[in-house]
């Protein structure tokens, strides 16, 4: 694990000298500032932090962080980040990616990094559109959505990122609106603390090519009624008046109102993010109303590095090979005089 430190950083220590070049009003600014505020709270040394990105608007992120960073190629950030982490498990490694980068061109790497459970963090900026190439549909765009590459409406059904991630074995999955810096900052800290691959989906508004795509979920006026912010160990309750909640009816989640039809708060489901079984977590990520935000799943498991370390220690303890010469001159050799 990363060494913790006494020294207290502020967000300025994580701000690079590069001018930020996202469009004015983009949620990416919120993500950047939330991260710069979260890092001083993590107790990690600046030189131990590495941001890796692929290609897309999201992937400019590393340039703006005064840490180690690599802006790499489209879709491959999980592979590159895995190499960084396996080479030096003491680093805090972050993959900054988008919906196209992670689930279209990088889909293969995305599912495999989640399957392996390497202790790194992924922040996925989901804006349901390709921004940097100026407005084509992405793997999360909706059917019927009109974009530059679907002028008559998109015909390809979308991925639900959480469903895909949990299906691939994600141990940590959280979702958050792009306009709530305080909650987002806390989620980054929680993701950092989690041992294993953590994935945070940010519902990120693209002001230019898909403006308002999450309006009905994230706008201040509606968010409390349209989102359920999940917390481990707490009842699944939501609504401006805190009077709505979720129960399980048969194999489906159902929205109920406290006080109606004999429903009391005790009847609501209690969120267990740490449960190994995926069933309820899958239902929650699929839910269209209310949209589940917060930490949906946080199941701690053995990481790839831990398995590798254990094996390496075992092999080292049982091996006679300390230096390459021991190997090269071992076994069937013969001497010519």
């Amino acid at each position: 694990m990363e060494t913790t430190i006494e020294q207290k950083y502020t967000f300025k220590d994580f701000t690079s000298d590069q001018e930020v070049r996202w469009c004015p009003g983009c949620d990416d600014y919120v993500i950047l500032r939330s991260m710069q505020k979260a890092l001083p709270e993590m107790g990690v040394k600046r030189e131990d932090v590495v941001f890796i990105s692929g290609i897309g608007c999201s992937s400019r992120f590393p340039y703006y962080m005064n840490t180690y960073g690599m802006h790499t190629i489209h879709g491959r950030a999980p592979g590159i980040a895995s190499g960084v982490k396996l080479a030096n498990p003491d680093l805090s490694v972050w993959v900054m990616t988008g919906d196209g980068d992670s689930m279209a061109i990088g889909g293969n790497h995305f599912i495999h990094v989640l399957r392996r459970n390497i202790n790194l963090n992924i922040v996925m900026f989901n804006n349901e559109i390709y921004g940097l190439t100026k407005g084509q549909f992405s793997p999360t765009s909706l059917v019927g959505q009109k974009t530059k590459s679907s002028p008559y409406g998109n015909t390809q059904p979308p991925f639900q990122p959480g469903e895909l991630a949990l299906g691939a074995g994600a141990r940590f999955f959280a979702r958050i609106g792009g306009n709530v810096p305080k909650e987002m900052t806390q989620l980054f800290i929680d993701a950092h603390k989690f041992k294993g691959t953590s994935l945070i989906e940010v519902l990120q508004n693209c002001v230019i090519f898909n403006d308002g795509c999450f309006k009905n979920i994230t706008d201040k006026a509606v968010k409390e009624d349209k989102q359920i912010f999940l917390e481990h160990g707490k009842p699944m309750i939501f609504g401006k008046n805190r009077d709505k909640g979720l129960i399980l009816k048969g194999l489906k989640l159902e929205v109920v109102t406290i006080g109606e039809n004999g429903i009391a708060q005790e009847d609501l489901l209690v969120h267990d993010a740490k449960e190994k079984d995926l069933t309820l977590h899958q239902m929650l990520v699929r839910l269209e109303y209310p949209v589940a935000t917060g930490i949906i799943r946080s199941y701690e498991d053995v990481t790839l590095e831990e398995r590798e370390d254990e094996l390496t220690a075992q092999v080292k303890a049982n091996s006679n090979f300390k230096k390459t010469d021991d190997l090269f001159f071992s076994g069937e050799t013969y001497t010519v005089k």
């Binding site: 131990d48 790499t72 396996l86």
Partner: protein, 618 residues
């Protein structure tokens, strides 16, 4: 009778080429390996080459399911697995049919007659039995009921099923060949003891069958004489038999230890490169991190990540995999990170001939990336020198801060030969360029004046935090820059950095003649074939034929052009359609460069090369 006794005196010969063939499940690779290892320990020079089908277990007895292992042993220098056979051991009709062409007329073929059933003859598409129809009268055929004799030898061993009994008949054949060439059985019996440690009945069975074959050959009147091949004159030292892919893997192990770095391999299985992965995963005791990724791209991507984090990072592949890695390799190149990409070439294009050899990825290695993206390209030339060139690839990569492509091929990767073991203390120093000290004015793209290599600042080092990436960068600070002059300048700096590697690599040397009528040029895995052909033509009375073999392709050695001026004629021989010849023409104008190309998935034969050389000098 007297004449028979005279014949029984072992005949002394210099070298012999033997091929063992059978079904892909018959254990021919094992038989061949045992024979070559035993011969090497006896002191012979050896070269081997396995030849197996791309099907794992092709239908029994079929022509395309034949698996073979060829070994060339000599009391003289042996540089190839040999062309034509002195002895063919054929375990079934399909093996005989597909390999008969290679047997020298008048030479020996051993067959298992039990396998020449009607069914097997049909599968091998024989209309009549070749053992009975007189079609083999130009050869010395030794017919042995190997399967029956094996069963007979094992009738008292308990706990064996019929399948295990029949499968051990390869050891009967090996026993016979051991006797014929005066080899000791000891090494193989030791091998049984180790391999079947927990299964004593298998040790007993295999030893019995090996002995049965050996004594059968000794007593059999059908074998009129035996051969002696004396130990070869080799440089003093400690040797072992090594396969090319193992030597490659070990070269990286040595480079990691010498440079003080940990070794990281990111790889995805692909024939014929996978054995490098198989070898490196074993060496966790040296702290090797071998990561089998989800695909070729993640293989190189993880290696790039590990390189950024300060490991000696490599990725291994074959042609199609190199194509997939192209974009990421360009990234490593513009980020100027050390990285070695091993391409064990096979027949292409596309899936091509996965188990056969070719040298057709040279231009891909040179130019197969978008943009102006030169990297160092070097090539190993023998199974044993895969060690040296893997080590050299790592050294150049770390000292010049650039990706290096190391080309080997299926022929040398799967072939084996004696390797004079290199101790770490005898290997050249490797200086990595890791920056340790934080300084106010650290710039990631500041360069060493001599090599133009940048410094390597790795995560975890306080004060050196920086960002790099695939976008063009300012030539000092490394910040993103789209400035027109900066891009042109950076493009030229990256090219010059590779060119300056010329100052750190040896000049190209010639063998057999310094100057003269014909210069034979080769590169990479064809060294053995070309060397032996040029040697022979010079021995045949052609005195002025020189040979130059290239291991450094990008950049080429400094004296390459001067070399070309020293001979009247030049011929470039390669297992592709003329790729290295093209590179020479691009670089050096005004030379008439002849080509000899073979694109059959097979190495060059001695005779075809000599015939080609003679056309140019006669």
């Amino acid at each position: 009778m007297i004449s028979d006794k005279v014949k029984l005196q072992p005949e002394v010969i210099e070298a012999v080429v033997i091929r063992f063939v059978g079904d892909s499940g018959d254990g021919m690779q094992l038989t061949g390996t045992q024979f070559s290892d035993t011969s090497a320990m006896f002191g012979n020079d050896i070269a081997t080459f396995p030849n197996y089908p791309s099907e794992i277990r092709a239908p029994q007895g079929s022509l395309y399911g034949v698996s073979g292992f060829q070994v060339h042993i000599g009391s003289v220098e042996v540089s190839t697995p040999g062309d034509n056979l002195d002895l063919l051991v054929a375990m079934n009709p399909a093996g005989l049919k597909t390999n008969l062409y290679a047997v020298k007329p008048g030479h020996t073929i051993i067959v298992d007659t039990d396998a020449f059933s009607k069914k097997n003859l049909e599968k091998a598409q024989y209309e009549t039995n070749p053992l009975e129809d007189g079609s083999l009268e130009n050869y010395r055929i030794i017919q042995v009921d190997m399967t029956s004799l094996t069963k007979e030898a094992l009738k008292e061993v308990e706990g064996l099923d019929n399948k295990s009994i029949v499968r051990s008949k390869n050891m009967f054949a090996l026993g016979m060949v051991y006797w014929m060439y005066g080899r000791s059985k000891e090494h193989t019996i030791e091998f049984f003891n180790k391999k079947f440690k927990t299964k004593p009945n298998l040790i007993e069975a295999n030893t019995k069958v090996l002995n049965a074959g050996y004594f059968f050959a000794e007593t059999l009147e059908l074998i009129p004489n035996a051969y002696t091949i004396s130990p070869a004159k080799m440089k003093p030292g400690t040797y072992r038999i090594i396969m090319g892919n193992t030597a490659t893997a070990w070269g990286f192990l040595a480079a990691a230890e010498k440079s003080g770095l940990e070794l990281f391999l990111g790889s995805y299985p692909i024939t014929p490169a996978t054995d490098i992965l198989h070898e490196l995963v074993k060496h966790k005791h040296f702290g090797v991190k071998a990561f089998q990724a989800e695909d070729e791209i993640a293989g190189i991507a993880s290696a790039i990540g590990a390189s950024f984090a300060g490991d000696l990072a490599i990725t291994t592949t074959s042609g199609p995999g190199l194509a997939l890695k192209g974009e990421a390799l360009g990234l490593a190149m513009i980020m100027e990170l050390p990285l070695v990409v091993v391409n064990v070439q096979r027949g292409g294009p596309s899936t091509g001939l996965p188990t056969k050899t070719e040298q057709s990825d040279l231009l891909q290695a040179m130019y197969g990336r978008n943009g102006e993206s030169p990297v160092i390209v070097i090539a190993a030339s023998t199974p044993a020198d895969c060690f040296q060139y893997a080590y050299e690839a790592a050294k150049l990569s770390l000292e010049h801060m650039t990706p290096v492509i190391l080309l080997t091929d299926g022929y040398i990767a799967n072939g084996s030969a004696p390797w004079k073991i290199k101790s770490l203390k005898d290997l050249p120093e490797i200086k990595n360029r890791i920056s340790k000290n934080a300084s106010e004015d650290f710039h990631p793209y500041e360069r060493d004046e001599e090599t133009l290599a940048r410094n390597w600042a790795i995560p975890g080092t306080a004060g050196l935090e920086h960002r790099i990436g695939g976008l063009e960068k300012d030539r000092i600070t490394g910040n993103v820059s789209q400035a027109p002059e900066n891009h042109e300048k950076m493009t030229k700096i990256r090219a010059e950095k590779i060119k300056r590697v010329q100052n750190f690599i040896p000049d190209i040397k010639t063998e057999f003649a310094e100057t003269g009528d014909l210069l034979v040029i080769g590169w990479g895995g064809t060294y053995g074939s070309l060397h032996s052909a040029v040697k022979q033509i010079n021995e045949d009375g052609y005195k002025n034929i020189g040979f130059a073999h290239f291991n450094y392709i990008n950049p080429l050695p400094k004296n390459t052009e001067e070399l070309l001026t020293r001979f009247k004629k030049i011929i470039v021989c390669e297992l592709n359609n003329g790729q290295f010849a093209k590179i020479l023409r691009i670089n050096f104008e005004g030379f008439k460069i002849h080509q000899f190309n073979k694109i059959q998935g097979l190495p060059f034969g001695n005779n075809e090369l000599i015939a080609e050389f003679k056309k140019l000098v006669d």
